[in-house]
Symmetry: none
Subunit: 146 residues, 2 copies
DNA sequence: GGTGGTTGTGGGGAATAGTGGGTAAGAGTG
DNA sequence: CACTCTTACCCACTATTCCCCACAACCACC
């Protein structure tokens, strides 16, 4: 099955809720999601079925006892399990809105097995500059799409 | 099932009680927990079902008779079994509050299979500085989230 | 071109969650 | 045995969260 695709810009209401595109709701095999910030720029929304695999890898890494394992709490502390209400909206906690720079509206991006939640301006700014990086991207993309 | 996630800052009342987030209470398969300090910085709260595995590993280690095994009592001495009251609060003994630097308020952190109890300022100070450590963390995290 | 369903958006009201404190039972001490 | 201090249970208050109803825009389909 094709994963999450496309982009939707929705309002973030005064209670901190955003609609989840109906298309995404239908595609997800589970109605529950894990919303977390593991990159500084944006939030990521995993269906719980996908999240479980991630969680297992996190547990394995922590049990390994490496130096970085001690900081994993910084990741899990920035996560919540959310479930859309009857109208298909999820509530984004204040501390996550702040971290992702969300105010007013949110851009929902389909990213195959997950959904990303961006502040529209940040997303525009995150596009690669025409230059070296963009050339590398182009080359990689050519190899994939053939 | 998704484990314990997120962060909640609650008051620590004059009797030394803290509310356990309702979400955590629902998630735990058992209402009883083991609260202990095994790291200098904070306290950790294990559901008894999870604790049993830890306890088994402690017993195995002690039976192994290694040098460190002789100091395990320093760990178990800093532990208590707690159970939330009807309002969902647990009582933190004075000697544990002191060791974790708790006063006024407590930050409850979801860490997948366990819950951590931090002094808010200490938690902020424990965040990895932008630098080598933070880069390693980012790299490890990228590998996990792909 | 109407018509019915679906989708995003707004807001009111009930249930729940966190917080404070009073009082009784229990443990430890002299 | 009496006294004190701690722990546990209970009642009450307030703010937040969650659930539900309702509207309006859009699309598809007769």
């Amino acid at each position: 099955m094709a994963g999450f695709l496309g982009q939707y810009e929705y309002q973030l209401d005064q209670k901190g809720r955003v609609s989840l595109p109906a298309d995404y709701r239908r595609r997800a095999d589970d109605s529950r999601f894990v919303l977390l910030q593991w990159e500084a720029t944006h939030l990521t929304l995993f269906p719980v079925s996908t999240w479980e695999g991630v969680q297992q890898r996190l547990l394995d890494l922590r049990r390994g006892g490496s130096a970085v394992a001690r900081h994993l709490r910084q990741i899990t502390a920035r996560a919540v399990e959310v479930e859309p209400d009857k109208q298909g909206r999820i509530l984004i906690p204040g501390w996550l809105k702040e971290g992702a720079g969300l105010d007013g509206s949110a851009l929902l991006i389909g990213a195959l097995d997950r959904i990303e939640v961006w502040d529209p301006e940040r997303f525009a700014a995150a596009a690669p500059d025409p230059g070296q990086e963009s050339e590398e991207l182009e080359a990689a993309v050519y190899e994939i799409f053939g």
